[in-house]
């Protein structure tokens, strides 16, 4: 046991040598950025391929939010001295992007845009809610 602890403490300076650690962190961050950009491409592809406004809102904003968060996180691993502002940017994107997609879906529902061409979008909870509570329908 003591031998293990001693060898571990002797190995620490080798493992935690600054250049090696920064290199490994930078490569991991680059791969996380790559994964985030792949999520962005998939979200934009869903934006092209989806049949309906609501499906497009869902796939576009969710996937692009996750992609932006992942790519900024990877960049914060690559450049650790920028991580404060990058983390505040991540919090900003995570707060504002779902809000804008929610407001947009509400406006699209208010415009009575038809759900889907081939009837693959079935559930409409907001209309059911308005039918059950007629007082809460906004003018």
């Amino acid at each position: 046991m003591a031998c293990l602890v001693l060898s571990g403490s002797l190995l620490w300076p080798v493992i935690l040598k600054k250049d090696i650690k920064m290199d490994v962190l930078a490569i991991i961050g680059a791969f996380i950025t790559l994964i985030g950009s792949i999520f962005m491409v998939l979200g934009a592809l869903g934006l092209v391929r989806m049949p309906d406004v609501f499906n497009r809102i869902q796939t576009g904003t969710k996937a692009s939010t996750l992609g932006t968060i992942l790519s900024l996180l990877g960049l914060a691993l690559i450049v650790p001295s920028w991580s404060g502002k990058l983390i505040s940017f991540i919090l900003f994107v995570g707060l504002t992007n779902p809000v804008s997609s929610h407001v947009l879906a509400r406006a699209a529902h208010h415009l009575k845009i038809p759900m889907s061409v081939s009837d693959r979008t079935v559930t409409d909870k907001l209309s059911e809610y308005y039918n059950n509570n007629p007082k809460e329908v906004e003018e």
């Binding site: 930078a26 490569i27 961050g29 680059a30 791969f31 950025t33 790559l34 985030g36 950009s37 792949i38 962005m40 491409v41 979200g43 934009a44 592809l45 934006l47 092209v48 406004v53 497009r56 809102i57 576009g60 904003t61 692009s64 939010t65 992609g67 932006t68 790519s71 900024l72 960049l75 690559i78 450049v79 920028w82 502002k85 990058l86 505040s88 940017f89 900003f92 994107v93 504002t96 992007n97 809000v99 804008s100 997609s101 407001v103 947009l104 509400r106 406006a107 699209a108 208010h110 415009l111 845009i113 906004e138």
Partner: protein, 86 residues
């Protein structure tokens, strides 16, 4: 190695912007266009951060932050306008 992977990531973000530009030009309703605008601005703010890494300037993060804020306010304004008219 890191710079190569980041270049590939930036190219993929550009592909995402082009795909959503197709929906922005073609989209049948206003909501489609606004969603495409939202995705475009979010992807391009990530590209701005990458450009800040390439040219090694800390101030580009502020540019990306203000850009994201303005795109958020624009989407909210258009959505409120097409929902209620004010």
């Amino acid at each position: 190695m890191v710079n190569t992977i980041l270049t590939i990531a930036g190219a993929l973000m550009l592909v995402a912007i082009l795909l959503s530009l197709y929906r922005f030009l073609k989209g049948p309703t206003t909501a489609d266009k606004v969603v495409a605008f939202d995705v475009m601005t979010v992807s391009s703010s990530a590209i701005l951060v990458l450009l800040g890494y390439y040219s090694n300037r800390y101030i580009y993060l502020d540019v990306a932050l203000v850009y994201g804020l303005l795109s958020f306010i624009g989407v909210i304004i258009v959505a409120r306008y097409i929902e209620k008219g004010y």
